[in-house]
């Protein structure tokens, strides 16, 4: 397949264009800073986006709307458990992952046992998780242990640590999807669940694993974000609801399922950060910024699709 046909190409082109336009404003000054910021903040969107991508790969109607609530709950509980004490970072991560496992299993239980459509099941469950987060800590903001905060905001070889974590997770997902049996099963289930079941794919196990994976990713993102920004807030995941879906589809993953695309999630995550930065830098007001963001998203989708048709 030629480069031009790669579905992820357009998100990267758009990200590069937004980057170039922003840097053009300062005649090149601040390019490094901007790239660094894009990588740091893009990493959070990419991590939740990767999870959402797996779910969207399961086919039409599969989407997880509990990502924001899971992020909030994992951030809240993990920081509460750590209580700013040094040396508790791994324990906190463990708590976050447990939260992810718990919410994922609960989501899937609703979907599987009660046969609820995933959109409704995860939406309804997310309201419960949000209440749980409120109840557990009443919105008090606990600082992360200093070491963890330093790690989350720090860099290694000039690259933000959170981006490195994100890249590691991406690599893991990429290998799973491209090379492993589990990845094949996921892609098969996404194309035609019934046919996959009849071909011997353990479809329910695949679905369960996927719904757990997305919340575990969200929980890790919540844990990192809370550490990065100095504590968990009750609304900290809110913007990742639409963001997680946007980065998946702008990145070129088919919403019809059965196909996923890891590099695109990164391209789209960087783009979503850079486009806002670009418009802010040009001094666009909120209205202009929103209209342009929307039009650019649609533009990318059209560009990607006409390329595909004119193959």
């Amino acid at each position: 397949m030629k480069l031009i046909q790669k579905p992820w190409l357009w998100s990267w082109v758009a990200a590069a264009a937004a980057f170039a336009l922003t840097v053009a404003l300062t005649e090149g000054r601040g390019a490094g800073e901007l790239a660094y910021a894009a990588l740091s903040f893009g990493a959070f969107a990419a991590i939740v986006g990767l999870g959402q991508m797996l779910v969207i790969t399961l086919g039409p109607g599969n989407v997880d709307l509990s990502i924001p609530a899971t992020m909030t709950l994992s951030g809240t509980l993990a920081l509460k458990a750590m209580g700013s004490d040094p040396g508790t970072a791994w324990m906190g991560l463990g708590v976050a992952i447990l939260v992810g496992l718990g919410t994922g299993l609960a989501n899937f239980a609703l979907i599987y046992l009660l046969r609820l459509p995933p959109i409704i099941a995860t939406l309804a469950a997310s309201l419960l998780y949000q209440s749980l987060a409120i109840w557990s800590n009443r919105g008090l903001r606990i600082k992360p242990p200093a070491g963890l905060a330093d790690f989350a905001t720090g860099r290694t070889m000039g690259i933000p640590n959170v981006a490195l974590v994100g890249l590691g997770l991406s690599l893991l997902i990429w290998v799973l999807l491209e090379r492993s049996v589990w990845g094949r099963w996921l892609l098969a289930s996404g194309q035609n669940l019934r046919a996959a079941r009849l071909a011997g794919v353990p479809v329910e196990a695949v679905r369960a694993a996927t719904y757990v994976a997305v919340t575990v990713f969200a929980a890790i993102a919540g844990y990192l974000l809370a550490s990065f920004s100095g504590g968990a807030a009750l609304n900290m995941g809110a913007e990742y609801l639409l963001m997680s879906i946007a980065v998946v589809v702008i990145g070129g993953t088919s919403i019809a399922g059965g196909m996923s695309n890891v590099p695109g999630v990164w391209g789209a995550s960087l783009f979503m950060f850079l486009v806002v930065s670009m418009l802010n830098s040009y001094g666009a007001g909120a209205g202009v910024r929103m209209v342009l963001t929307g039009l650019i998203i649609i533009g990318i989708v059209i560009a990607a699709s006409t390329r595909r048709v004119a193959r």
Binding site: P60, G61, L65, L110, L114, R115, L116, P117, I119, I120, A121, L123, A124, A125, S126, L127, L128, Y129, Q130, S131, L132, I134, W135, R138, L242, I245, A246, V249, I250, S254, I255, A256, G285, A286, G287, V288, R289, M290, V291, L292, T293, G294, L295, I296, I297, I298, V301, I302, S305, T306, V309
Partner: protein, 309 residues
């Protein structure tokens, strides 16, 4: 088989009736002309938005921009339509046409509707901010009168819901063109092969969604008397939930307009029911999720029993 077809309508009706009974038990004051109107009048715009969402789900797409669109319509209604009605009507018509064009573009270029509407949600939201950077405007007098009218015996909210349900049922289920539109959701290819211009059908479905979205925004302003750019953002998820509660399915053109209206009423009622329960504020948000799960689970039990019988 016929029984099951009937059940699809019956289940939403039963859930609504049970919830209503529970609400009346909790709050006997609600069992009056005045009370029922208060319980349901804000469900009218939600019902209209749910019908709009249903038009899109009917052709196998999903609209993530509906809430932003209804907000924009509300802003237009509270400003232009109020100040210079002609201009306002023209803008609203243009918005409906935009929706139709969106449907045509989505089909012609084979774009994923979910992404395009996600993008459009930013566009509508941005436009709404242009019109009303901060909350304000006022409802046109006639609209306020219409939404607060007090017909004899039956409260406005109930009248309006019944009218919406009947009209959309005739349009979507009974009429020929409605049947063809549902056919597009069931098997677009076969509709195309039968000689229908599917692009135009999709444009029609989206146009209808836009029209009902406009009605939703206007009804909302009639009730709230003013608008802001964020006023109806929740309608996106509420409308999707309403369609599903009403027995619709995301794919395959299986929708029920009557069910969708009932679904919207159920959602509104569920929120009221919860506030009558007087839960601790910590759990008030979670309880909304719990009741959604409960209502859908009750339906599941019914269908299971039906399947066993």
């Amino acid at each position: 088989m016929k029984l099951f077809a009937k059940y699809r309508i019956l289940l939403p009706v039963v859930s609504l009736a049970v919830l209503l009974a529970a609400t009346f038990y909790m709050q006997p004051r609600a069992m009056s002309y005045f009370g029922i109107n208060l319980l349901f009048n804000l469900a009218v715009p939600i019902a209209l938005a749910t019908v709009a969402q249903m038009m899109i789900i009917m052709v196998n797409d999903i609209d993530l921009s509906l809430g932003a669109f209804v907000s924009l319509v509300a802003c237009v209604t509270a400003t232009f339509l109020n100040d210079s009605p002609m201009l306002g009507v023209l803008i609203l018509l243009a918005l409906v046409l935009c929706y139709a064009a969106l449907g045509a573009v989505i089909h012609a270029l084979d774009l994923p509707a979910i992404v395009v509407t996600l993008g459009m949600s930013f566009v509508w939201g941005g436009l709404a901010l242009f019109i009303l950077p901060s909350p304000g405007g006022a409802s046109p007098g006639w609209l306020r009168t219409l939404m607060t009218v007090k017909p004899p015996y039956i409260p406005m909210a109930v009248c309006a819901s019944v009218i919406i349900a009947v009209v959309t049922h005739l349009l979507v289920i009974r009429s020929g063109i409605g049947t063809v539109l549902r056919g597009v959701g069931g098997n677009a290819r076969s509709v195309q092969r039968a000689g229908w211009p599917v692009v135009r059908l999709k444009a029609l479905a989206y146009g209808l969604a836009g029209l009902f979205g406009v009605f939703a925004g206007m009804a909302l302003v009639g009730l709230t008397t003013s608008a802001d750019a964020n006023i109806a953002l929740r309608y996106t998820l509420l409308s999707i939930a309403g369609v599903i509660l009403g027995g619709g399915e995301f794919t395959g053109g299986k929708v029920s307009p009557v069910g969708a209206v009932i679904g919207a009423l159920t959602l509104t009622l569920a929120a009221s029911f919860l506030s009558f329960l007087r839960l601790s504020p910590d759990w008030q948000i979670g309880a909304q999720g719990a009741i959604l799960i409960l209502v859908l689970t009750a339906r599941l039990l019914f269908t299971r029993r039906d399947a066993q019988a």
